[in-house]
Subunit: 325 residues, 2 copies
DNA sequence: TGACAGGCATCGGTTTTACCGATAGACCGG
DNA sequence: CCGGTCTATCGGTAAAACCGATGCCTGTCA
């Protein structure tokens, strides 16, 4: 006994122990978690055991088939995730604006990933070669926010300016277009045509639907008789066969479907697109750099020339292919 | 060489290293930080050195007089604080609702700490004897939020329902009273008297002032001619000597000053009082338990009997001393 | 300008502990 | 009742955290 060690000094858990807990909970068992962490199973057992000694309470309920966290363990693992992420962010925060490195996980809806991000990625890769950008397709609505909050993504391209407790940077406004069968011709769209044509829209709960409903309401058009389809491609197919017309954001129309005419609306309507991140991570150099690259490529500065060469009639004919190998 | 160890595997910093960085930044030097952490100075030097090796960049600028964080170090230490707090919260989260232990740091404005919290503390101490509640007086306005965000407090009694990105639980409404010199007598207050009396109020930037301005504006009374004083006690002294009248929340009037009459307003006005915490810590058993104790003692359930026996005339005479040793 | 003082980095040596492989024990399905 | 699967335990080893002592740097003062 060299030192009294001040009996029951308030010891804190080790990051390794917290990572062990997280891995076991995620993997559903010690063995699988050990494989994912590249450590031995006994290490994980000891680490979780230490943690349970510290808390004085079992965190995992072990059964032959499946290891599941106790209520206390469930609460604990959430804070453990925060601790591990924050510890990793310490390294990211220490990076300088130049000479960035690491992995950046970016979530985006499909059309954004397909048509918006490629030029941004090229420019960003040129400026920060040591950064690996990982694209996550967040297909369904709200998936981007979920990936951010669960710590599976660092940045998310999202629609709208909602999302409280997220840090948003607006990027561009995505114009809504009037879509009709090719046979309609390209004469300008009138409010009367909007009111008299059968409307095919996305489901009523959708943010798109809400926005269109408000827009048409201002024009005195009722949307209660609109037909709803889950998939945009289905809607477009219906329009192509003459069942009605629809309104869609320009970006949702890529790749450009055949047999349709895309026309500007009599009154402009658009949805805001933004890049989101967790507020306390917004200042990390990596995240700031990529956000800056997004703004530089898509933001208001480049709003002069539409970044998307969509064949929209009745617009000033300024088609500049700007091809890239 | 037993294992290749996968050259430059992305190692994460140790919590001890992060605590070292935090302590040095807070203490302004290695020696003082070592004393506060009860470790040797060389340990801290090595720990911070390891951290700087990991980040590949100096985090502290050492000079003979004072050690100050570099820009990178400043960013890093913020995330380090988050990591350390989250790691500590893992232990708190694992606690069961019964058998709580630890230290709970509660911030409150002075009158709240003096007249609101004591019965709550007695009840809470009886229910959770192993918990040490530490009271922090956050005197100036907004200090509670600041203490929460800087990690120096776990709960804060605050005024208002503002404070986005904080988790709020409303507690009670604190009525505003009309205060005049004793010589005025106790006849009911009229709007005309409010309009014709010289107003003595808190400074214009204050939340109290804003609330009173809105209230009086609804009654058609202008506040531009009001006199402003920094200290409530000064205001009350001026009122006592007949320089004018004022409006103050009931709680701000404790202890009850002599030589004044306190009367209800012609139209009721009140400020909301709430207990706040960081959103991601709101589910910690310790914090939930104390919040529950606050609600049980001060919340709407006990709203029937006013918890404060203030001598307000022109009210139903229900004076129940309810003395406590 | 030179010596002093305060404060941090470096250096061996010691102790702690994180990690491993192997093995024993617990549990479920057959 | 037995085999398969999963976790806890046990020595042993290697890494690293920690310490006291010492050297170095810098700013200060005579």
């Amino acid at each position: 006994m060299t030192r009294p060690k001040s009996t029951s000094a308030h010891v804190q858990p080790t990051l390794a122990q917290l990572r062990a807990l997280i891995a076991v909970v995620d993997a559903g068992g010690f063995g699988e978690a050990a494989a994912e962490l590249n450590v031995s199973q006994s290490s994980l057992s000891e680490a979780v055991g230490k943690l349970e000694d510290l808390t004085g309470r079992p965190l995992l309920r072990r059964s032959a088939r499946g290891t599941v966290p106790t209520p206390a363990g469930l609460r604990a693992v959430g804070h453990a995730r925060s601790a591990v992420q924050a510890a990793g962010d310490v390294l990211l925060a220490a990076q300088d604006d130049s000479q960035l490195s690491g992995v950046l996980r970016v979530s985006s809806f499909r059309s954004g990933a397909t048509y918006l991000l490629p030029p941004v990625l090229v420019a960003f890769r040129q400026q920060h070669p040591a950064v690996t950008v990982k694209l996550l397709d967040g297909d369904r609505a709200g998936a981007g926010e979920q990936l951010l909050r669960s710590g599976q993504a660092d940045l998310a391209l999202i629609e709208g300016v909602s999302a409280v407790d997220l840090s948003l940077t607006p990027l561009l406004m995505d114009d809504y277009l009037f879509i009709a069968p090719e046979s309609r011709g390209t004469q300008p769209v009138t409010v009367q045509e909007l009111a008299e044509s059968p409307l095919l829209l996305s489901p009523r709960g959708d943010a798109c639907f809400q926005r269109i409903e408000t827009y048409l309401g201002r024009l005195g058009i009722d949307t209660s008789s609109a037909t709803e389809f889950e998939q945009d491609s289905v809607t477009l197919g219906m329009v192509r066969h003459g069942l009605g017309i629809t309104l869609m954001p320009r970006l949702a129309l890529l790749p450009v479907p055949d047999g349709l005419v895309l026309l500007p609306l009599p009154e402009p309507l658009s949805r805001p697109l933004a890049v989101a991140t967790l507020p306390w991570r917004a200042r990390l150099p990596l995240i700031q750099a990529f956000t800056a690259a997004l703004v530089a490529s898509l933001g208001s500065a480049s709003g002069q020339t539409t970044p998307l060469a969509l064949p929209v009639w009745n617009q000033s004919p300024k088609l500049e292919p700007e091809a890239r190998g």
